[in-house]
Symmetry: C2
Subunit: 190 residues, 2 copies
DNA sequence: TATTAATCTAAGCGTTTGCTTAGATAAGCA
DNA sequence: TGCTTATCTAAGCAAACGCTTAGATTAATA
């Protein structure tokens, strides 16, 4: 028969993901991927088709990387407290290995916007929707909330996560802590 | 003597800014700038040095474009009400000419992060700081707020603006309105 | 051990990138 | 009107881009 692969695709995607996370899609070249993934361009293209294919798989890997903190939220049954914890967990998550990377999905939305390829767009949207539904679950755990207000609060929390992602890239710890604390213990009212 | 310029630099920068706003820095090529600005590459380079120079001037132009709604906030003396109005004004601003562009400064922060050239970074940071100081001014207009809480609230509002910018690129009107309303009329509390 | 076929290396494909330059053009002063 | 000189056009530079391909290598089967 024939020769066997000298790498596991999940291993090299993990490395590709970290590169995309640091640099974004456009600013990451196939030559850079080659070095970081530790395999030749031929192998990259035979395994993933093209650069876009590597990226889509990286996004999927990112989402399962996020599963650890996602599951903490999913398994919590303490309503808002669990959501607040998720905000702090997420902030820690963005700082692992290297600071100022933010969230890969949010970064991608910002970089490509509505110009993302359909299959990629699906992955990005699923991310936001899943987040929102997790928020809704936990919001419902605190009784005496109407369906209507839960929906509004979930929309608010989802967009707030986008702010946290972008904020984590340029703001200091105090500013970010003030941000999270103010979300869950607000003092503003018009 | 010699020939005179056939274009005003402020005019062509305005057009460059719109292109950068739609596409981001990397995804905007000098050939695209050439067409959009209506002048030859030679003129671009003799007027602005290089692509980066065009971009820095575009960021400055963007900031003065934002002056109209910035001044509404600056001249307001109704505290939080003025800040809330600014959030809505900003949302309208991001939709002018074309939807889903977000805020050029926020987009740039997301694209380049801490890899931005120093002179560009200065412009980006000035933007955030100025925003924060405007918020502080208005927060102080509502009496019985301590200096300490004003600082926290300003940090919160600044990061919230980042969320609004990114949100404006992917979320619908309802989600965005829920977001703003919840900021200024919060129902969450842990 | 010889055969087979997938995986490897490395060179190279055509395009596009940011930027430069030689020569044509034209505007103001003598 | 003729000279001067900055601005224009358009061609072209090296480097980097995403991607392909020919040929060497290697592991599993017969």
């Amino acid at each position: 028969m024939a020769r066997t692969k000298q790498y596991k695709e999940e291993d090299v995607i993990q490395k590709a993901m970290n590169l995309f996370w640091r640099n974004g899609f456009e600013a990451t070249s196939v030559r850079m991927l080659e070095k970081e993934m530790g395999i030749n361009q031929f192998s990259i293209y035979s395994s993933f088709g093209n650069k876009h294919g590597v990226f889509v798989e990286s996004i999927k890997a990112y989402k399962s990387e996020l599963n650890s903190i996602r599951n903490i939220l999913k398994n919590s049954n303490n309503g808002l407290v669990g959501i607040k914890q998720f905000f702090y967990d997420f902030l820690e998550f963005t700082k692992e290995n290297e600071e100022g990377k933010g969230c890969l999905v949010c970064n991608t939305v910002s970089e490509l916007g509505n110009k993302a390829e359909p299959d990629l767009m699906v992955e990005l949207m699923k991310f936001t929707e899943e987040l929102k539904s997790l928020f809704i679950n936990n919001l419902k755990q605190d009784k005496n909330r109407s369906q209507e207000i839960v929906e509004k609060e979930a929309n608010y929390l989802t967009t707030s996560m986008l702010g946290l992602s972008l904020g984590s890239r340029i703001q200091n710890e105090t500013e970010l802590e003030d941000y999270i604390e103010m979300i869950f213990n607000p003092s503003l009212r018009v």
